[in-house]
């Protein structure tokens, strides 16, 4: 197992480097726009634009820029933001805890709620509880995030005045963003859990467990639910990876200082170093979470062994 983990970590480095290289080249070759022109402002002279390009090192050949980037990258330096002139590593390090907190809360609460709804609707299959659960899950999954976020603000912040509209600082600031993202997450997990549970509940070993006279709770949790966890863990892993890269819309609506809003701002300002930093974070998040998911598989299903 430890050899497997080590091998996966070693594979992660060229993977992240590959992603970063593609982004580095795409930004400079394929994406229209120039950070120097954005920074120079609307009244710039061609000379000023050139001076800023020179100051930022953008007048050097792309290959030379890439070599400089690589040299700094291996030293843990991702450069300075074109727009803010701050070290990218520092800016992302300050933004990441907000995104990580939002991700953790959203996945933990959304998944727990989804599991409960999924199990209950599977157990009460083809009853009004099941029908109601399916309708709610489909509804929650279909609601666009931006619309839900604004509706929650209108109801709980503007209407009832019990939760803040934006910002961070207290636990209250996380309630609406987590609810906005968690609703979709819980609906997804509920649908997945229900279908897996229905399949597992009709298997022979569950019937045998019931025939042995085991309690319903014991049958559901130890025999049925445990065997439905593999696909759920996969989906949760993908959700975590995606959210760690930034829940862009939610962060914008609730004005959270996370990685998502940082990345969007960087893209619109053609802030190359910041975009690269965000991409590296997203790639690393996915690699790390996938590794974690693979390890959890082995714990959940003892038949899975990594050589």
């Amino acid at each position: 197992m430890s050899k497997y983990i080590l091998r996966r970590i070693l594979i992660a480095f060229p993977l992240i480097l590959g992603v970063t290289t593609v982004v580095f080249v795409m930004l400079r070759v394929a994406l229209p726009g120039d950070p120097a022109k954005v920074l120079a402002g609307p009244r710039a002279t061609p000379e000023l634009i050139e001076q800023i390009r020179h100051n930022l090192g953008l007048d050097r050949p792309v290959f030379e820029q890439y070599l400089i980037f690589l040299r700094n990258f291996v030293q843990g330096d991702l450069g300075r933001s074109v727009k803010f002139r701050e070290p990218v590593v520092g800016v992302i390090a300050k933004a990441f805890p907000f995104t990580a907190t939002l991700t953790f809360l959203c996945v933990a609460i959304g998944t727990s709620l989804g599991l409960v709804i999924g199990v209950v609707t599977a157990v009460y299959q083809r009853t009004w509880i099941d029908n109601f659960g399916i309708v709610v899950a489909v509804l929650f999954y279909s609601i666009p995030t931006f619309w839900l976020g604004l509706m929650l603000i209108l109801i709980f912040s503007v209407g009832l005045r019990i939760l803040p509209v934006q910002g961070v600082g207290t636990w209250k600031h996380f309630v609406l963003p987590v609810a906005t993202l968690g609703v979709g997450q819980s609906a997804l997990i509920a649908r997945l859990t229900r279908s897996s549970m229905i399949e597992v509940l009709s298997t022979d070993y569950v019937r045998t467990a019931r025939a042995k006279g085991l309690a319903q709770r014991h049958v559901l949790i130890r025999h049925a639910l445990q065997n439905t966890l593999i696909p759920i863990i996969t989906v949760v892993g993908l959700s975590v990876g995606g959210l760690l890269g930034g829940a862009v819309i939610t962060e914008s609506i609730f004005h959270l200082p996370g990685v998502g809003s940082l990345a969007i701002d960087a893209i619109s300002n053609r802030d190359y170093p910041m975009i690269q930093g965000a991409v590296i974070l997203v790639a690393a998040s996915f690699v790390f979470v996938n590794l974690l998911v693979d390890i959890i598989y082995a714990f959940v299903d003892p038949r899975i062994r990594y050589e």
């Binding site: 120039d34 000379e47 803010f84 800016v91 604004l150 910002g167």
Partner: protein
């Protein structure tokens, strides 16, 4: 003996006056304070004025300037106490107030100002702000601790305008921190001191207790400011801003046009409506065929119904525009509206017919002079506001048979496109407060930069030069009128509208007002703190 008694008496008197002043100031500030929270996404830039191209709330909170503008739009001293322009208009001597200090304790003296001006004027700095000084400022000569003379290569009419926008930083702090770190720990000598920055989210300032040099023409109380803190939130989401204004989390913000009625109906929000010093226009790339032909460009101007445009795109809150300068910029001459092309679809059709753009296949849309399908690409920004404006133009121009093809781009891609010279039409804006803005857009040296229409002629260059070097206000007004007249005739742009500025302010905020240039005068504003 008498002399020493007199000296003691004088000293006592001065001490009592100082004590009295301090007590009065303390009394004035009693029960006043609070945190002013402003939502402004545009303020989300570096706090280093040598880096940022957009200067807004944060910069004016921490940095003073040499001059400011009074409410009659004349120039008044801020750090400058008295000043004198030489007879040849090529030298400006400024005597500074002698009691202003940066918040690191160093004096705001002639040396400090020289350091700042030299840095702005150095092309290697790459400063967007103050670039007018490059090649213009020949020397800053220090005459004394608080007096200096700026020597210019030529007279420059917008000089006071430029100097009223140049923020003065502490050279001591800048040199100690270096350009890499000054933006995150800025030091100025303005009404507020930098306290905290969460990059891309907000910046927080606290009152500068030593600040007592607010221009008296603008503020009854010269300082310190009454507010305890100022926070600028960089929120881009309009509906979040509005919700935060309604709940009181934000005290001041712009209001989206579509939400004006809601905001006005809210008793907790005071709404201020004005016209921006800004215009929306369509530009042609006059270096590329067929847009080299002024008659073709003029046909588009005749095909544009500005009254309908402001109704459909701005819900009647904007003002129709027929010339390059809006009424909110000095130099606008209302008489020029009469000579500018206004909506006349028959004239537009006549011009297009004469140029060979006729409807050959009878589908209601014109073909090009060779009889091939004609398509007019118009590039603009992707946000809804811009798309709506482009769609109104598309409908209006279709009525005279012009087939428009709208291209929605991100702002940075749009700016990039217009500097390549390969574009066709573009829908954009400019905002400024001095007629010298026209030089930025029609200077031959700025093709590939801010001259996005790629339009210049020798005659126009000489007219612009005359306007920028004429210091007499009446003569300058005539020179600016001549520039506007020439541009109207040549039609490199179709002028569309002057957009509105809708500002919402929480009713709890006391003693504020809005300057005619739309800056928010809040240094004497406060919340009652009981």
């Amino acid at each position: 003996m008498f002399k020493s008694r007199f000296a003691v008496f004088a000293l006592l008197l001065v001490a009592l006056m100082a004590l009295g002043g301090a007590v009065m100031a303390q009394d004035m500030m009693e029960g006043k304070g609070g945190r002013l929270v402003v939502a402004d996404a545009n303020s989300n830039t570096s706090l280093d004025p040598f880096v940022s191209s957009w200067h807004s709330w944060p910069h004016y909170a921490i940095y003073p300037t040499l001059f400011a503008r009074a409410e009659d739009m004349s120039y008044i001293g801020f750090l400058a106490d008295t000043w004198e322009v030489s007879e040849d208009s090529k030298a400006l001597t400024i005597n500074l107030i002698d009691f202003a200090t940066f918040t690191d304790g160093s004096p705001i003296d002639a040396e400090a100002i020289k350091w700042n001006l030299d840095r702005y004027a150095n092309p290697d700095t790459g400063a967007s702000q103050g670039r007018d000084l490059i090649g213009l400022l020949e020397e800053v000569k220090i005459n004394g601790d608080y007096s200096f003379t700026m020597r210019l290569a030529s007279p420059y009419a917008p000089l006071f305008f430029v100097l009223s926008g140049l923020e003065i930083v502490s050279p001591t702090a800048y040199e100690a921190l270096g350009p890499d770190d000054f933006g995150t720990s800025p030091v100025g000598g303005g009404p507020f001191i930098f306290k905290e920055l969460v990059t891309d989210n907000y910046v927080l300032f606290e009152r500068n207790p030593d600040f007592t040099w607010a221009p008296e023409e603008l503020y009854d109380h010269p300082g310190p400011v009454f507010l305890d803190e100022l926070q600028i939130l960089f929120i881009g989401e309009e509906q979040t801003v509005l919700a935060a204004l309604e709940t009181g989390e934000v005290s001041l913000a712009g209001i989206p046009t579509q939400n004006l009625a809601d905001a006005q109906a809210n008793p907790d929000i005071d709404v201020h409506i004005a016209q921006l010093s800004q215009i929306r226009y369509v530009g042609f790339n006059t270096s590329k065929d067929p847009w080299t032909d002024p008659d073709l460009r003029r046909a588009f101007a005749y095909a544009t119904n500005r009254e309908e445009f402001v109704t459909l795109a701005w819900e009647d809150l904007a003002q129709p525009l027929y010339q390059p300068l809006p009424p909110t910029i000095w130099g606008h001459n209302p008489e020029l509206d009469a000579v500018a092309p206004s909506f006349d679809p028959d004239k537009a059709s006549e011009l297009l017919d004469s140029l060979g753009y006729v409807d050959v296949d009878g589908d209601g849309l014109r073909e090009d002079p060779d009889g091939n399908a004609w398509s007019v690409p118009l590039a603009t920004a992707s946000p809804d506001e811009w798309r709506r404006q482009a769609e109104v133009l598309e409908a209006q121009w279709r009525d005279v048979g012009i087939p428009l093809e709208i291209q929605l781009l991100e702002f940075s891609a749009l700016i990039d496109l217009t500097t390549t010279g390969e574009h066709d039409l573009f829908l954009l804006l400019y905002g400024y407060q001095d007629p010298s803005i026209l030089t930025y857009f029609f200077d031959p040296e700025r093709k590939g930069g801010s001259n996005r229409a790629w339009f210049s002629t020798d005659e126009l260059t000489s007219l612009l030069n005359a306007a920028d070097t004429q210091l007499d206000p009446d003569l300058r007004y005539e020179a600016v009128t001549a520039v506007s007249e020439y541009i109207i005739e040549a039609s490199p742009w179709v002028y569309l509208a002057v957009p509105p500025a809708l500002t919402g302010v929480r009713a709890e905020l006391e003693n504020w007002r809005i300057h005619p240039d739309l800056s928010f005068l809040y240094w004497n504003a406060y919340f009652e703190t009981g």
